[in-house]
């Protein structure tokens, strides 16, 4: 693909963080990040464990209170929103560990994505069902609709979680380590799914450890360490950056590269 980073100057930003910081006592989990998410692009965040990636996702969804900084979505400052209002703005997320209702069917778990965002009228409920069906088809779990999550494989549980987020029909999807614990083939499926969602214009922010997948999937990479942004730009250039290699991949990888 031609480097989308170069034309991001013309692409409007759907989301902007300005000087965002989250401190827990003396720990500066996120310390003054500023970046934007261009509409319709996939942006990835790389960083070693404890570099503040998940805290950043928590800050964007307003789960974690900001120490300072502003968050803007579609041009509006939503930094004082309570967390449950964020999904209503069109921001959906998945979690690092799959979180499903084990006692409910796959279909019901996916419907949960629509339950608070769609009204209770008969037509609206029918549309919610259609949304859930489409989301399950896209993630390849429609044949599991009647199953219970505790009977599913890890990869399928992940699919259900992504389906639930898609059923929310978000404008921005935050994906926290979507392929952790997956095999190569499953990872490629997830990657393909994200690219097909991008083709429809869905902006995505991915936190992920698999460097190869990030390079293949993302338009832009942000590399974090110690709560700060160290490099951002074209994925291939970012992973070749010496600072990133040292922080994230370790010195050994630098030798191999």
């Amino acid at each position: 693909m031609s480097s989308p980073w170069n034309d991001s100057g013309e692409t409007p930003m759907i989301f902007e963080a300005d000087d965002v910081a989250v401190h827990f006592g003396g720990v500066k989990a996120v310390d003054g990040l500023s970046f934007g998410l261009p509409e319709g692009k996939i942006v990835g965040i790389l960083g070693p464990n404890g570099s503040g990636k998940s805290t950043l996702v928590g800050a964007i969804t307003r789960h974690v209170p900001l120490t300072r900084g502003t968050l803007r979505f579609l041009g509006e400052d939503y930094g004082s929103d309570r967390a449950h209002l964020v999904p209503h703005r069109g921001i959906a997320r998945t979690f690092q560990t799959v979180r499903l209702l084990e006692e409910r069917t796959v279909l019901e778990n996916v419907l949960l994505g629509t339950d608070s965002l769609v009204g209770g009228g008969r037509d609206e409920r029918r549309r919610a069902h259609e949304r859930a069906q489409v989301a399950m088809q896209r993630t390849g779990c429609e044949h599991l609709a009647k199953e219970r999550p505790d009977e599913l494989s890890y990869g399928n549980r992940r699919r259900v979680e992504i389906a639930r987020a898609i059923a929310m029909e978000p404008k921005l999807l935050l994906v926290d380590e979507p392929t952790a614990g997956m095999g190569r083939a499953e990872k490629e499926e997830v990657s393909a799914l994200m690219m097909s969602l991008r083709a429809e214009g869905l902006t995505q922010l991915i936190v992920e450890h698999d460097v190869q997948m990030m390079v293949d999937t993302c338009d832009i990479l942000l590399a974090m360490n110690f709560g700060k942004l160290i490099v951002e730009g074209d994925p291939r250039e970012v992973v070749r950056n010496p600072a990133v290699q040292e922080a994230y991949l370790g010195k050994q990888a630098v030798k191999h590269a």
Binding site: A83, H84, P87, T105, L107, E108, D115, S116, H129
Partner: protein
């Protein structure tokens, strides 16, 4: 049948009152809110109705309404203060609330009748009235167990952080459950008092918390049906066990302990587990046969057992 009813009318009454009380505790538990405030509200509802009826010459139903609403309002205010507490801390705070109600009743002077309570508050309530009120409450709760409302409540209980990420206003659910719990508990207290004509501080004390919890542990915490099973067992067990005379409390204790240990989902959870096992055992072939039925999110959606809070309750 009529003879049987006449002979057991009082036990039937007690079953319905116990069920209402248990429902006022079960609703918050279903939301993951470990609150016993419903028991205190039983006292508030009972005393308010009795005082309104005997000292202010209000009619039966206005007295019941006043007791119910006052209990609901006070419980809601309590909820505003304590809804952010969880687990044992919330349990302790709401038990304290219940004990305070008993203390106020004991020390309320001529208004509450002190330790001997209030007598002669015999309102015009029949078992049929109680049954109708109970049915209204049960229908309301049953609706809250199905469809998207049921799913949202389950999410609020199982994973509040996920619930928020799905756009559910968890804080509001938690506060509203205090209101609903207070209304149901207050109704239970008001109706029971005007039915029996008396209320004393001893009746609304800690033992009532134990009764309500026992009902839920034996029956199951996930559904009103569990509370019904538990209420029937708890109120009829002493009758059934009367032949063992002095041993009754001991056997009663064993039954409760065994239920807590071996039936984490209560009797209802056991029944649902058995039904599911039978279904999946007989039909490893496509579950598509019932696909048409289960493909909506209405009352026919499979509703498996849940074993959430009672393990905590068992520890108390």
């Amino acid at each position: 049948m009529i003879d049987w009813y006449a002979a057991n009318s009082v036990v039937i009454q007690a079953t319905m009152a116990t069920l209402l009380l248990a429902l006022s505790i079960q609703l918050p538990l279903r939301m993951g809110v470990f609150s016993f405030a419903g028991v205190g509200c039983f006292g508030i509802g009972g005393y308010t109705a009795a005082i309104a009826f005997t000292q202010f010459d209000m009619g039966t139903w206005p007295s019941v309404a006043l007791g119910t609403v006052l209990a609901g309002v006070l419980c809601y205010l309590l909820g505003l203060i304590v809804h952010k507490l969880t687990g044992l801390y919330l349990g302790m705070a709401t038990i304290a609330f219940t004990l305070i109600v008993a203390v106020v009743a004991t020390n309320g002077g001529s208004m509450t009748g002190g330790a001997s309570g209030i007598f002669g508050a015999l309102g015009g309530i029949t078992n049929l009235h109680v049954l109708i009120l109970l049915a209204v409450v049960v229908v309301g709760l049953a609706v809250s167990e199905y469809g998207r409302f049921g799913r949202k409540i389950d999410t609020v209980r199982e994973d509040p952080e996920l619930a928020v990420a799905l756009g559910i206003n968890v804080a509001r659910y938690r506060k509203m459950t205090f209101l609903a719990s207070g209304l149901i508990g207050g109704l239970a207290g008001a109706v029971t008092t005007l039915l029996r004509s008396t209320i004393t501080p001893a009746e609304i004390n800690f033992h009532l918390v134990v009764v309500a919890l026992t009902v839920i542990i034996i029956g199951g915490s996930s559904s009103w049906l569990g509370a019904l099973i538990g209420a029937v067992v708890i109120t009829w067990l002493p009758t059934v066990l009367s032949f063992v005379a002095d041993w009754e409390p001991i056997i009663y204790g064993f039954v409760v302990a065994l239920a807590a240990i071996f039936l984490p989902g209560g009797v209802l959870g056991l029944v649902k587990d058995l039904m599911r096992r039978r279904r999946s055992g007989s039909g490893t072939a496509p579950p598509a046969s019932d696909a048409a039925v289960t493909s909506n999110d209405g009352p026919t959606a499979p509703e498996p057992s849940r074993t959430p809070v009672p393990s905590q309750g068992g520890a108390l």
